[in-house]
Subunit: 134 residues, 3 copies
Protein backbone atom coordinates (compact mmCIF):
# COMPACT_ATOMS: atom_id res chain seq x y z
CA UNK A 1 0.00 0.00 0.00
CA UNK A 2 1.59 3.24 -1.17
CA UNK A 3 0.60 6.86 -1.46
CA UNK A 4 2.24 10.27 -1.78
CA UNK A 5 1.88 13.28 0.46
CA UNK A 6 2.53 16.67 -1.14
CA UNK A 7 3.68 19.28 1.35
CA UNK A 8 3.90 22.96 0.48
CA UNK A 9 6.61 24.87 2.30
CA UNK A 10 7.31 28.59 2.61
CA UNK A 11 10.78 28.84 4.08
CA UNK A 12 12.91 26.92 6.59
CA UNK A 13 11.22 25.17 9.48
CA UNK A 14 9.15 22.19 10.55
CA UNK A 15 5.82 21.36 8.89
CA UNK A 16 3.68 18.83 10.73
CA UNK A 17 1.74 16.20 8.76
CA UNK A 18 1.01 13.62 11.47
CA UNK A 19 -2.75 13.85 10.86
CA UNK A 20 -2.52 13.07 7.13
CA UNK A 21 -0.29 10.07 7.84
CA UNK A 22 -2.49 8.75 10.68
CA UNK A 23 -5.65 9.11 8.58
CA UNK A 24 -4.12 7.13 5.72
CA UNK A 25 -2.54 4.29 7.73
CA UNK A 26 -4.80 1.28 8.29
CA UNK A 27 -4.23 -2.32 9.34
CA UNK A 28 -1.04 -3.60 10.96
CA UNK A 29 2.46 -3.35 9.55
CA UNK A 30 5.42 -1.06 9.11
CA UNK A 31 4.89 2.44 7.75
CA UNK A 32 7.84 4.03 5.94
CA UNK A 33 7.94 7.65 4.85
CA UNK A 34 10.53 8.69 2.25
CA UNK A 35 11.19 12.29 1.15
CA UNK A 36 12.28 12.57 -2.50
CA UNK A 37 14.60 15.54 -1.99
CA UNK A 38 18.14 16.24 -0.79
CA UNK A 39 17.37 19.66 0.73
CA UNK A 40 14.49 18.73 3.05
CA UNK A 41 14.26 16.11 5.81
CA UNK A 42 11.82 14.08 7.89
CA UNK A 43 11.89 14.22 11.67
CA UNK A 44 9.81 13.04 14.61
CA UNK A 45 9.66 15.71 17.30
CA UNK A 46 7.65 17.11 20.19
CA UNK A 47 4.26 18.33 19.04
CA UNK A 48 3.18 20.09 22.26
CA UNK A 49 5.11 23.36 22.28
CA UNK A 50 5.75 25.24 19.00
CA UNK A 51 8.85 26.75 20.65
CA UNK A 52 10.54 23.38 20.24
CA UNK A 53 10.14 23.51 16.48
CA UNK A 54 11.42 27.10 16.30
CA UNK A 55 14.39 26.25 18.52
CA UNK A 56 15.28 23.25 16.33
CA UNK A 57 15.22 25.43 13.24
CA UNK A 58 17.45 28.02 14.95
CA UNK A 59 19.93 25.44 16.22
CA UNK A 60 20.44 23.95 12.76
CA UNK A 61 20.70 27.43 11.20
CA UNK A 62 23.69 28.04 13.54
CA UNK A 63 25.24 24.58 13.17
CA UNK A 64 25.16 24.94 9.37
CA UNK A 65 25.24 28.66 8.47
CA UNK A 66 24.61 29.94 4.93
CA UNK A 67 27.59 29.92 2.57
CA UNK A 68 27.62 33.74 2.80
CA UNK A 69 28.98 33.26 6.34
CA UNK A 70 32.81 33.53 6.43
CA UNK A 71 33.05 30.28 8.42
CA UNK A 72 31.63 28.43 5.40
CA UNK A 73 34.02 29.93 2.83
CA UNK A 74 35.57 26.51 2.15
CA UNK A 75 32.37 25.22 0.49
CA UNK A 76 32.39 25.15 -3.32
CA UNK A 77 28.81 24.29 -4.32
CA UNK A 78 27.49 27.85 -3.92
CA UNK A 79 25.95 28.86 -7.27
CA UNK A 80 22.42 27.74 -6.35
CA UNK A 81 22.33 30.27 -3.52
CA UNK A 82 23.75 30.64 0.02
CA UNK A 83 21.09 28.29 1.45
CA UNK A 84 21.69 25.44 -1.01
CA UNK A 85 24.78 23.58 0.19
CA UNK A 86 23.77 24.08 3.87
CA UNK A 87 20.45 22.46 2.93
CA UNK A 88 22.29 19.39 1.61
CA UNK A 89 24.38 19.23 4.80
CA UNK A 90 21.27 19.44 7.00
CA UNK A 91 19.68 16.70 4.88
CA UNK A 92 22.73 14.51 5.60
CA UNK A 93 22.56 15.29 9.35
CA UNK A 94 18.83 14.58 9.53
CA UNK A 95 16.66 11.89 7.90
CA UNK A 96 15.45 11.04 4.41
CA UNK A 97 13.17 8.30 5.71
CA UNK A 98 11.24 7.31 8.83
CA UNK A 99 9.73 3.95 9.77
CA UNK A 100 6.91 3.66 12.30
CA UNK A 101 5.14 0.43 13.38
CA UNK A 102 1.34 0.48 12.92
CA UNK A 103 -1.08 -1.71 14.89
CA UNK A 104 -4.76 -1.86 14.00
CA UNK A 105 -4.50 1.44 12.15
CA UNK A 106 -2.77 3.20 15.07
CA UNK A 107 0.76 4.60 14.66
CA UNK A 108 3.13 3.58 17.48
CA UNK A 109 3.93 7.23 18.20
CA UNK A 110 4.55 8.29 21.79
CA UNK A 111 2.24 10.85 23.37
CA UNK A 112 4.37 13.85 22.41
CA UNK A 113 5.61 12.65 19.02
CA UNK A 114 4.59 14.33 15.78
CA UNK A 115 5.77 13.70 12.21
CA UNK A 116 7.35 16.68 10.47
CA UNK A 117 8.86 17.67 7.18
CA UNK A 118 11.88 19.88 7.88
CA UNK A 119 12.36 22.38 5.05
CA UNK A 120 15.93 23.64 4.61
CA UNK A 121 15.54 26.03 1.64
CA UNK A 122 14.49 29.68 1.81
CA UNK A 123 12.13 29.82 -1.15
CA UNK A 124 8.71 28.08 -1.31
CA UNK A 125 8.82 24.43 -2.40
CA UNK A 126 6.47 21.55 -3.08
CA UNK A 127 7.88 18.53 -1.25
CA UNK A 128 6.93 14.96 -2.07
CA UNK A 129 6.86 12.24 0.58
CA UNK A 130 6.23 8.63 -0.47
CA UNK A 131 4.39 6.52 2.10
CA UNK A 132 4.71 2.73 2.09
CA UNK A 133 2.78 0.43 4.43
CA UNK A 134 3.18 -3.34 4.47
CA UNK B 1 5.26 -9.73 15.40
CA UNK B 2 5.63 -6.89 17.90
CA UNK B 3 6.88 -6.39 21.42
CA UNK B 4 8.05 -3.60 23.69
CA UNK B 5 11.37 -3.21 25.46
CA UNK B 6 11.34 -1.08 28.61
CA UNK B 7 14.72 0.47 29.34
CA UNK B 8 15.48 2.20 32.64
CA UNK B 9 17.99 5.03 32.39
CA UNK B 10 19.86 7.00 35.06
CA UNK B 11 21.32 9.99 33.27
CA UNK B 12 22.82 10.74 29.85
CA UNK B 13 24.67 8.02 28.01
CA UNK B 14 24.35 4.83 25.98
CA UNK B 15 22.47 1.80 27.31
CA UNK B 16 23.04 -1.43 25.38
CA UNK B 17 20.11 -3.80 24.77
CA UNK B 18 21.46 -5.92 21.91
CA UNK B 19 20.96 -9.14 23.87
CA UNK B 20 17.25 -8.53 24.55
CA UNK B 21 16.66 -7.74 20.88
CA UNK B 22 18.64 -10.76 19.62
CA UNK B 23 16.84 -13.11 22.02
CA UNK B 24 13.44 -11.92 20.84
CA UNK B 25 14.07 -11.90 17.07
CA UNK B 26 13.27 -15.18 15.29
CA UNK B 27 12.74 -16.18 11.69
CA UNK B 28 13.68 -14.05 8.70
CA UNK B 29 12.55 -10.52 8.00
CA UNK B 30 13.17 -6.88 8.84
CA UNK B 31 13.41 -5.83 12.48
CA UNK B 32 12.48 -2.23 13.25
CA UNK B 33 13.03 -0.59 16.63
CA UNK B 34 11.15 2.63 17.42
CA UNK B 35 11.68 4.77 20.53
CA UNK B 36 8.50 6.53 21.70
CA UNK B 37 10.25 9.65 23.01
CA UNK B 38 11.66 12.91 21.67
CA UNK B 39 14.48 13.20 24.23
CA UNK B 40 16.16 9.80 23.77
CA UNK B 41 17.55 8.09 20.66
CA UNK B 42 18.54 4.75 19.19
CA UNK B 43 22.02 4.18 17.83
CA UNK B 44 24.16 1.30 16.59
CA UNK B 45 27.72 1.67 17.83
CA UNK B 46 30.89 -0.18 18.71
CA UNK B 47 30.35 -2.61 21.57
CA UNK B 48 33.97 -3.53 22.22
CA UNK B 49 35.42 -0.57 24.12
CA UNK B 50 33.25 1.32 26.68
CA UNK B 51 35.42 4.40 26.01
CA UNK B 52 33.65 4.76 22.66
CA UNK B 53 30.28 5.15 24.38
CA UNK B 54 31.66 7.67 26.90
CA UNK B 55 33.34 9.64 24.12
CA UNK B 56 30.12 9.74 22.11
CA UNK B 57 28.23 11.07 25.12
CA UNK B 58 30.91 13.74 25.69
CA UNK B 59 30.99 14.81 22.04
CA UNK B 60 27.24 15.36 21.91
CA UNK B 61 27.30 17.16 25.29
CA UNK B 62 29.71 19.67 23.68
CA UNK B 63 27.94 19.89 20.31
CA UNK B 64 24.64 20.65 22.07
CA UNK B 65 25.40 22.25 25.48
CA UNK B 66 22.72 22.82 28.14
CA UNK B 67 20.62 25.96 27.80
CA UNK B 68 22.44 27.35 30.85
CA UNK B 69 25.46 27.77 28.55
CA UNK B 70 25.69 31.34 27.15
CA UNK B 71 26.11 29.99 23.60
CA UNK B 72 22.59 28.56 23.81
CA UNK B 73 20.92 31.78 25.06
CA UNK B 74 18.87 32.03 21.83
CA UNK B 75 16.79 28.97 22.71
CA UNK B 76 13.31 29.66 24.11
CA UNK B 77 12.00 26.25 25.24
CA UNK B 78 13.84 26.31 28.60
CA UNK B 79 11.22 25.92 31.34
CA UNK B 80 11.53 22.10 31.53
CA UNK B 81 15.19 22.42 32.58
CA UNK B 82 18.54 23.20 30.94
CA UNK B 83 18.82 19.65 29.56
CA UNK B 84 15.40 19.58 27.89
CA UNK B 85 15.73 21.49 24.61
CA UNK B 86 19.27 20.08 24.03
CA UNK B 87 17.69 16.62 24.43
CA UNK B 88 15.23 17.42 21.63
CA UNK B 89 18.07 18.67 19.42
CA UNK B 90 20.11 15.51 20.04
CA UNK B 91 17.02 13.44 19.25
CA UNK B 92 16.78 15.26 15.89
CA UNK B 93 20.51 14.72 15.18
CA UNK B 94 20.33 11.01 16.08
CA UNK B 95 17.69 8.35 15.37
CA UNK B 96 14.15 7.56 16.50
CA UNK B 97 14.13 4.24 14.66
CA UNK B 98 16.52 1.55 13.47
CA UNK B 99 15.93 -1.25 10.96
CA UNK B 100 18.07 -4.39 10.90
CA UNK B 101 17.66 -7.38 8.56
CA UNK B 102 17.21 -10.73 10.33
CA UNK B 103 18.03 -14.12 8.77
CA UNK B 104 17.13 -17.37 10.51
CA UNK B 105 16.86 -15.55 13.83
CA UNK B 106 20.26 -13.87 13.47
CA UNK B 107 20.53 -10.07 13.33
CA UNK B 108 22.67 -8.79 10.43
CA UNK B 109 24.89 -6.86 12.84
CA UNK B 110 28.58 -6.57 12.08
CA UNK B 111 31.08 -8.01 14.53
CA UNK B 112 31.50 -4.78 16.52
CA UNK B 113 27.94 -3.46 16.30
CA UNK B 114 25.71 -3.19 19.36
CA UNK B 115 22.22 -1.68 19.70
CA UNK B 116 21.94 1.17 22.21
CA UNK B 117 19.38 3.52 23.65
CA UNK B 118 20.99 6.96 23.96
CA UNK B 119 19.49 8.83 26.92
CA UNK B 120 19.67 12.64 26.65
CA UNK B 121 17.97 13.72 29.92
CA UNK B 122 19.66 14.09 33.31
CA UNK B 123 17.01 12.52 35.53
CA UNK B 124 16.10 8.80 35.57
CA UNK B 125 13.57 7.76 32.90
CA UNK B 126 11.71 4.66 31.77
CA UNK B 127 12.09 4.50 27.98
CA UNK B 128 9.84 2.47 25.72
CA UNK B 129 11.08 0.92 22.49
CA UNK B 130 8.59 -0.79 20.17
CA UNK B 131 10.00 -3.72 18.20
CA UNK B 132 8.39 -4.83 14.94
CA UNK B 133 9.53 -7.87 12.92
CA UNK B 134 7.96 -8.91 9.64
CA UNK C 1 15.17 -11.37 -0.67
CA UNK C 2 18.65 -10.48 0.59
CA UNK C 3 22.06 -9.81 -0.88
CA UNK C 4 25.31 -8.14 0.09
CA UNK C 5 27.12 -5.30 -1.64
CA UNK C 6 30.88 -5.10 -1.07
CA UNK C 7 32.24 -1.59 -1.46
CA UNK C 8 35.95 -0.87 -1.60
CA UNK C 9 36.97 2.51 -0.20
CA UNK C 10 40.23 4.44 -0.35
CA UNK C 11 39.89 7.21 2.19
CA UNK C 12 37.15 9.49 3.51
CA UNK C 13 34.33 10.51 1.20
CA UNK C 14 31.16 9.41 -0.55
CA UNK C 15 31.05 6.32 -2.80
CA UNK C 16 27.96 5.99 -4.95
CA UNK C 17 26.37 2.57 -5.48
CA UNK C 18 22.88 3.55 -6.70
CA UNK C 19 23.29 1.54 -9.89
CA UNK C 20 24.13 -1.74 -8.11
CA UNK C 21 21.12 -1.30 -5.82
CA UNK C 22 18.73 -0.38 -8.64
CA UNK C 23 19.89 -3.32 -10.77
CA UNK C 24 19.28 -5.77 -7.94
CA UNK C 25 15.88 -4.48 -6.75
CA UNK C 26 12.88 -6.09 -8.45
CA UNK C 27 9.18 -6.30 -7.70
CA UNK C 28 7.38 -4.09 -5.16
CA UNK C 29 8.23 -3.68 -1.51
CA UNK C 30 10.53 -1.94 0.91
CA UNK C 31 14.27 -2.01 0.30
CA UNK C 32 16.50 -1.67 3.36
CA UNK C 33 20.26 -1.19 3.21
CA UNK C 34 22.31 -1.85 6.35
CA UNK C 35 26.04 -1.15 6.71
CA UNK C 36 27.81 -3.60 9.04
CA UNK C 37 30.34 -1.11 10.40
CA UNK C 38 30.52 1.64 13.02
CA UNK C 39 32.99 3.83 11.12
CA UNK C 40 31.16 4.19 7.79
CA UNK C 41 27.63 5.41 7.00
CA UNK C 42 24.92 5.34 4.38
CA UNK C 43 23.47 8.56 2.97
CA UNK C 44 21.17 9.66 0.18
CA UNK C 45 22.48 12.81 -1.45
CA UNK C 46 22.52 14.88 -4.62
CA UNK C 47 24.07 12.94 -7.49
CA UNK C 48 24.32 15.79 -10.00
CA UNK C 49 27.31 17.85 -8.88
CA UNK C 50 30.40 16.10 -7.40
CA UNK C 51 31.13 19.34 -5.50
CA UNK C 52 28.24 18.47 -3.18
CA UNK C 53 29.91 15.23 -2.14
CA UNK C 54 33.28 16.95 -1.58
CA UNK C 55 31.62 19.73 0.43
CA UNK C 56 29.81 17.19 2.61
CA UNK C 57 33.07 15.41 3.34
CA UNK C 58 34.74 18.74 4.21
CA UNK C 59 31.89 19.88 6.45
CA UNK C 60 31.97 16.67 8.52
CA UNK C 61 35.78 16.78 8.70
CA UNK C 62 35.42 20.17 10.41
CA UNK C 63 32.43 19.27 12.60
CA UNK C 64 34.32 16.23 13.90
CA UNK C 65 38.09 16.89 13.62
CA UNK C 66 40.71 14.17 14.17
CA UNK C 67 41.70 13.48 17.78
CA UNK C 68 45.08 15.08 17.02
CA UNK C 69 43.21 18.42 16.99
CA UNK C 70 43.46 20.21 20.38
CA UNK C 71 39.68 20.75 20.44
CA UNK C 72 39.22 16.96 20.63
CA UNK C 73 41.69 16.40 23.50
CA UNK C 74 38.85 15.24 25.79
CA UNK C 75 38.34 12.04 23.76
CA UNK C 76 39.86 8.88 25.25
CA UNK C 77 39.41 6.21 22.54
CA UNK C 78 42.49 7.28 20.55
CA UNK C 79 44.77 4.24 20.26
CA UNK C 80 43.32 3.09 16.91
CA UNK C 81 44.47 6.33 15.27
CA UNK C 82 43.36 9.99 15.16
CA UNK C 83 40.62 9.18 12.62
CA UNK C 84 39.02 6.35 14.63
CA UNK C 85 36.87 7.97 17.31
CA UNK C 86 35.80 10.77 14.91
CA UNK C 87 34.67 7.99 12.54
CA UNK C 88 32.44 6.55 15.28
CA UNK C 89 31.00 10.01 15.98
CA UNK C 90 30.26 10.59 12.29
CA UNK C 91 28.62 7.16 12.16
CA UNK C 92 26.35 8.24 15.05
CA UNK C 93 25.52 11.54 13.32
CA UNK C 94 24.77 9.85 10.01
CA UNK C 95 22.97 6.59 9.16
CA UNK C 96 23.62 2.88 9.54
CA UNK C 97 20.54 1.97 7.50
CA UNK C 98 18.35 3.37 4.74
CA UNK C 99 14.89 2.27 3.63
CA UNK C 100 13.54 3.05 0.16
CA UNK C 101 10.13 2.01 -1.25
CA UNK C 102 10.31 0.05 -4.52
CA UNK C 103 7.47 -0.16 -7.06
CA UNK C 104 7.67 -2.51 -10.04
CA UNK C 105 11.44 -2.70 -9.69
CA UNK C 106 11.86 1.08 -9.56
CA UNK C 107 13.35 2.76 -6.47
CA UNK C 108 11.28 5.72 -5.20
CA UNK C 109 14.32 8.01 -5.43
CA UNK C 110 13.79 11.61 -6.43
CA UNK C 111 15.43 12.92 -9.58
CA UNK C 112 18.61 14.11 -7.84
CA UNK C 113 18.93 11.41 -5.20
CA UNK C 114 21.79 8.91 -5.23
CA UNK C 115 22.70 6.23 -2.68
CA UNK C 116 26.17 6.55 -1.15
CA UNK C 117 28.43 4.84 1.29
CA UNK C 118 30.19 7.51 3.36
CA UNK C 119 33.64 6.29 4.42
CA UNK C 120 35.02 7.91 7.60
CA UNK C 121 38.40 6.15 7.93
CA UNK C 122 41.65 7.19 6.27
CA UNK C 123 42.96 3.78 5.23
CA UNK C 124 41.41 1.57 2.51
CA UNK C 125 38.53 -0.60 3.69
CA UNK C 126 36.18 -3.23 2.33
CA UNK C 127 32.69 -2.24 3.47
CA UNK C 128 29.75 -4.64 3.59
CA UNK C 129 26.19 -3.48 3.02
CA UNK C 130 23.34 -5.94 3.53
CA UNK C 131 20.31 -5.38 1.27
CA UNK C 132 16.88 -6.66 2.27
CA UNK C 133 13.78 -6.37 0.05
CA UNK C 134 10.33 -7.58 1.10
Amino acid sequence: MQTRFDITTSGPGLYEFTRQVADWATGTGLLTLFVQHTSASLVIQENADPEVQADLQNYFARLVPPTSDPSMAYLTHTYEGPDDMPAHIKAALLLTHLSIPVTGGVLALGRWQGVYLFEHRDRPHLRRVIAHLA
